[in-house]
Amino acid sequence: MSTERSSHPHAAAWHSKPGYASLKRPTDWLPAVRGLRLPLRFPFGAPTWPTSVPRPRKQSDLGVSYDTEWARRYPVRLARAAYTELVTRPVLSAVARPSVAGLDRFENIEGPVIFAANHCSHLDTPLILSVLPDRWRHKLVTLAAADYFFDSRLKAMYFAFSLNAVPIDRVRTNRESAERAERLIAGGWNLLIFPEGGRSPDGWGQEHRGGAAWLASRSGRPVVPVHIKGTGRLWPRKAKRVYTGRTTVTFGAPIAPDPAPRQLVSRLEDAIAVLADEASTDWWSARQRAAAGQTPPLRGPDAAAWRRAWALGPSPKDRARKRSPADEKRWPPKP
């Protein structure tokens, strides 16, 4: 071994030369506890990597590449059904108190279908899962942002299990993501997709991306528009806590796939806007406004940021404070 001291009379001088074998790496004698590294020298420990050799980029198996096949196996589906019934649904019932409308609009069609919903909160997916009839829910996958839900192994496993989430690249067009979604539809799985590509930054709707329409056109399967009202007030983006309140989930009539995905994008956006109007008023009024082309736009007023925020009404923090025992339920009331 090069680390052996030779018996040669000049060996000591030699070993003191820069760069020679006796030089110890700075990491050689690190305490074992630091970074769980054992102070073992190669070959007992891991080899060092020569500076001049570029490290190969490790092919990550997270993100878009995360394999969720295991989460669609039957035993896992059973476990997820139990988890949804025992955890998701009770929690959502307590937190969001959802009311559901429009389930009858698609009860007569055969799956698979693509559920396309507006997106304001992380509560949206479990809320839909908790209100969907079993027939649809047990074979539903959720397309979830690979960069957010699948960036660590623990998160990836949890969301793949609890939401049957499948990673999708929302940053750029990814052939692997698209083909995987296509294969899932071909395999009889319903998809839940949020065409806005992410949660609303301010509570209003965002422009729809073409993914849902493209998948519908490619697969020939209908799109069921879904509007979720209220979750944006309970757990908006960047909120540090979840508030409780009421929510409404409104399902629309299935939209037949259009060979031209661009047209389907705007039809879908319009359909969700009508559902939003219906959830805020009533079905007949919403229909009348839709027929007159007067449906309030999902994207909110085209105005300054403060006016858009103002138009949403009181913030969830205000509502929470109002409901807080300290403010409202103190007895005897504060003087």
Partner: protein, 528 residues
Amino acid sequence: MPRPGFVLEVDRSTPPVLIWHGEGFRLERLPAERSRVVYAPEPLEPLGDPDAAIRRALLNPLGDVSPLPELLHAGMRLTIAFDDLSLPLPPMRRPDNRQRVIEAVLHMAAAAGVDDVVLIAALGLHRRMTDAELRHALGDRVFDAFSPSGKLLQHDAEDPTALVMVGMTDHGEDVEVNRRVAESDLLVYVNINLVTMDGGHKSTSTGLMSYRSVRHHHNVHALQHSRSLMDRPNSELHSSAWRIGRLLNEHIKVFQIETTLNNDAFPSQMAFLQKREWEWSVRDRATFLAASKGAEALSPAARRSVFQSILAPHQMTSVQAGEVEAVHTSTIANLHRQQLVDVEGQSDVVIFGLPHIGPYNVGSIMNPLLVMCFGLGYYFNFYIGKPLVRPGGVVIISHPTPLAFHPVHHPSYIDFFDEVLPTTRDPLEIEKLYEERFATDEWYRHLYRTSYAFHGVHALYMWYWGAHALDYAGSVIIVGGNNKAVRRMGFRPATTMADALEMAEDKVGRDPSVTYFRCPPIMLPHVH
């Protein structure tokens, strides 16, 4: 996609590198900022269907020659010669390339109704192969069909009745060839090209000829003027072999079949031998430790037995057939595809770690002369352009160099070591004073012909083989070798690599540049 070979500049973050040491290995940390390591390319993808490729090659020969089936006809005399056990290294797993090719040739010969077929192991002056070795190379089917009826022969370079003189080249080189070959209507030569030195006319002019012919290219002058043995156009040895081969081709029809192998030399259990040290996994480190510590625990004989039992998972990367020179050109291109590594400039010191096996100690001991031949003859000559070490530089060889000889395989080596080396180490003087004696010694001749001994003159050839390096290098140091054996050969013994590097400074000055040639796997540096 296999990665090409490359040269690693050693820095402080470079882990210790693996250096072969006979039947064992060492991990050595090389001097940082002035050392480099030449790593071999990764093994090429093998042919998907080698049997189909062989058939295609036989039906579509290169050069001005007809497809093999058209050369075969009933009533003809067909001789199939094949490379002996010195190739490949380590011996490859069955089926051997020779088996695949010879079976394909025999299928065609049977279809053409050829009855008179003889197989000849082209030994040259090497030792005879045992039945087990022949069976391994040729496969059971061929061995069982030809050996019992005496149609499987081994070339005897000392049988006057089995040799015939076919002429003399314009350089005065005798062309004395195996009689059966000379009297055949067609010679099919089946070759395994492990390195660029092999194949071409050298196959026949070495493997199937007598000492009278071989001496014209296996001599000190030829070897001192071969720059290098692995670069045929610049090799005097090959120039002579080519002249002899061309003359032979004027008298007999030769259909050459050459195959190349990838450099996948070790089984997956020893994958660490093929991998770069910083890429060693936990498993690689564990197997390294187990193999090296296990080997140390064994007796030399047991250790040798274990290492000699290693069979390489080599696989065929190309096969070409037809006219000798056209075939060989294609073969060399395929070998270069696997083995070439570009290296910039020479260094003051070069380090060679010799493994357990060389071409002349298959199933045998790597004795001191073989260490010299392997290190200074083969490793030193692995270059195109110029050697890895500068003129007057130092060659460091890592090998235990045991003072031990296989008495059956290498009888003349013992006498050479004991009688010749104490008097002179000068190759020219040895050639002048001793070659005739060793070449014509009746006892050696008897052992070569009837036992399993290398030819008497082969011991001298081992010394000649290193003649170029002896002439070129300023000093040769052997690390971890037997002191007596090393000193007898005129080299300097060192206990450790650190000692050797320090001793090298005496010759090449302080802080010399160092190149470590990390072979095997086999590669061919192109030194610019």
